[in-house]
Point group: C2
Chain length 418, copies 2
């Protein structure tokens, strides 16, 4: 079989699996998820061996250390995988929620209920915990999933998928509910993008180039997860201690992730009071601070920031700082340069907080909280497959509810259109 034929066959099995899943109860899906940690335990030795071989090969191929570390299933990662599966099992069933409904004057009873999307294709890179996380969110929401992980992680992923399928089938779920692309051939991705009608939605998890490729090459709808150019705006009344703590946490708690802070906006009316201690706190964490001319007038030894800095997602210990004349200017800056991911304000004034929340056009808007809190876990959604920067379908963290579509059901008694 060619790669194209293999992928087509996989797509057809997934579609059949999705149809079979439609007849499986939420309780059975939850039971299958709850059984997965034990199934992973049962293959622990084989998993360790497969993972060690993947890591060794990647090392031999010259993969650099941070990528190697992501590949490795440490005991901590293994425990985390099981925890997330159990959490997904415990979440309420996202399928069958009655979202709206009424009895019409004619007596026709209409309701809109949530239903699985069908087949979800996930394309991702090295971390093997994405395999279990993504599969759990898809299965929780009654979807069949086709997983295409990094080729350097294939042996590991195959063992993970096998264990999950064992737990799934033991609980009455179709084996094809979870499939993993079992060839390292890169052509498989191209073929996957062509499975229109067999895959209902693609979720690429990785760099911008991967997402752009998927979005431009495929006619299948894509849930996109682009840059996080996140801001905090310090209002004139911002508390210094809170500003320092929240800015440092937003920037430094983890620098390479999408909800890390990239640009700090400081209101001119509070800049002299706020900027020196905030910069000092950042420098204590070895953050390089780059500032506009007004910021450098207050803290002279800031690195000069250029126009390019405002549009840059550093994913590194660098922060750009701009002094803005007022809240409206801060919002205008965010809506112009930001990526609509996560933006916050530090203030104790209700009118400023309300105005900021209403006018910043982002997936997440925070008041007096770290940008790092924007995400499925801290919002109480449990496992997520990513954070969408799209406005349609899903915006922000993509959890089980976001992987459902809807169905209108109308029940009558011979009702006609008159």
């Amino acid at each position: 079989m060619t790669i194209a034929e293999q992928m087509l066959a996989m797509g057809r099995r997934a579609r059949a699996g999705a149809h079979a899943l439609a007849a499986v109860s939420g309780a059975a899906r939850a039971k299958a998820l709850a059984a997965m940690p034990a199934a992973l335990d049962a293959v622990r030795d084989r998993l360790r061996e497969a993972n060690e071989r993947d890591v060794a090969d990647a090392q031999a191929a010259g993969l650099d250390l941070p990528l190697l570390e992501r590949l490795r299933i440490t005991d901590k990662v293994f425990t985390y995988m099981g925890k997330r599966l159990r959490e997904a099992a415990a979440l309420p069933d996202p399928v069958g929620r009655v979202l709206e409904g009424q009895v019409r004057p004619s007596g026709l009873r209409v309701e809109k209920v949530s239903v699985p999307l069908g087949v979800i294709g996930i394309i991702y890179e090295s971390r093997p915990n994405v395999t279990t996380d993504a599969a759990s969110v898809c299965l929780k929401s009654g979807n069949a999933v086709i997983l295409r992980g990094g080729s350097e992680c294939l042996r590991t992923n195959l063992v993970l998928a096998e264990a999950m399928v064992t737990a799934a089938t033991a609980n009455g779920l179709p084996a094809d509910a979870i499939q993993i692309v079992d060839t390292p051939d890169r052509a498989a991705v191209g073929e996957m993008l062509r499975l229109e009608g067999l895959i209902d939605v693609l979720i690429p998890r990785g760099g911008k180039s991967l997402i752009q490729r998927v979005a431009s090459e495929s006619r299948i709808p894509v849930i996109k997860h682009y840059d996080g150019i996140c801001h905090q705006y310090l209002a004139p009344d911002a508390d210094v201690a809170m500003a320092c703590a929240v800015v440092v946490n937003s920037k430094c708690e983890r620098v390479e992730v999408c909800n890390a802070l990239e640009t700090l906006l400081v209101d001119a009316a509070g800049a002299v009071r706020l900027l020196p201690p905030v910069v000092a706190a950042l420098r204590e964490q070895e953050v390089e601070c780059r500032g506009c001319a007004e910021a450098r007038a207050i803290v002279p030894d800031l690195v000069p920031a250029t126009e390019e800095d405002w549009a840059t997602e550093y994913l590194a210990p660098i922060l750009s700082i701009r002094v803005v004349p007022d809240l409206a200017a801060a919002v205008a800056h965010i809506n112009h340069y930001g990526s609509g991911h996560t933006d916050g304000i530090i203030t104790n004034r209700l009118d400023w907080a309300d105005s900021f929340v209403a006018t910043v056009d982002s997936a997440s808007v925070l008041v007096n909280a770290s940008t790092r809190l924007s995400g499925g876990g801290d919002y109480g959604m449990g496992a997520v497959v990513g954070i969408s920067t799209d406005k349609l379908h899903a915006r922000g963290p993509v959890g089980p509810n976001e992987l459902t579509s809807t169905k209108w059901i109308a029940r009558g008694n011979g009702h006609l259109r008159v």
Copy 2:
């Protein structure tokens, strides 16, 4: 200015209009919509004149009669336009609904609220009532709209838009909330499709080729409204009188629309009892009935149906009829040949109705009701801009709620990620 420059300027005005609309209350939007019927009355004479000139030009250009009729704003159409605007005004505000939320264990208060999508581009053909209908749904949901109607209707649409803008600005809404592409040049559509970042979603209303062009040419997300290959399945126990009435209404109430019936599936166990009277009732309405071999064994003078018939949206007084061995076969036929639009079952058995509803993968599934009842009006949604056959974002009728996105808001008191 070139067409490209004109469209770019229009897109920028729309984006600014959308930002301005974000600061306008739902009450003001409703007031503006409620003021529009009077604004239309105030331009009634100019509207009549513009419409007569459009119709005369179209007639001279050789447009055929059904298209000419669609173009004409009769008194009935004019009254209908006002009625739909008043209905939209009276609907609850789709913006600012708290969709979910909780206080997290940390004390962080999170909520997900509905927000406008931003800028909506609508590309449609001749009916001028789409101009008022679509603008009302967009404005109701706090979105700015760019309307591109048929060039043969341009004079009419310009007067309609002018009246709506008058009512909008008189109630504090930005003038650029409603814009109409004011050139008949077909190149304007191509330029509109390129306004990525300025238009948030495109809604093409028209033939399949228009929708396919928009979806393939533009990188802007598209809400698609494809075929309605709709089915009714007569279960073995179907009541003859109800079957005749519902099938005839589904097929004949209006043949050229997307929720009209195209294929009738009859269970083999009831076919001898049901098929002759149903076919007789359809023939009384001058419907051409095409049947499979089993159907022709019962009603010999049916036109033979071919494989192609099962995949055809006739939009005409033609119906294909297939005898199926059981409910599962009916569902398999629908999921294979159907377009996921609207499908129904006629039965009095709860288990069959439940199984059909659960396994048919369509936007609307009906029990004992005409397919013609599938739509925003009969579902109580008021005005809609179309019926989506997509599974993502919006499935089925697209009303004001479907033209919103969401925003997560998190309120803390110096909350950090730990």
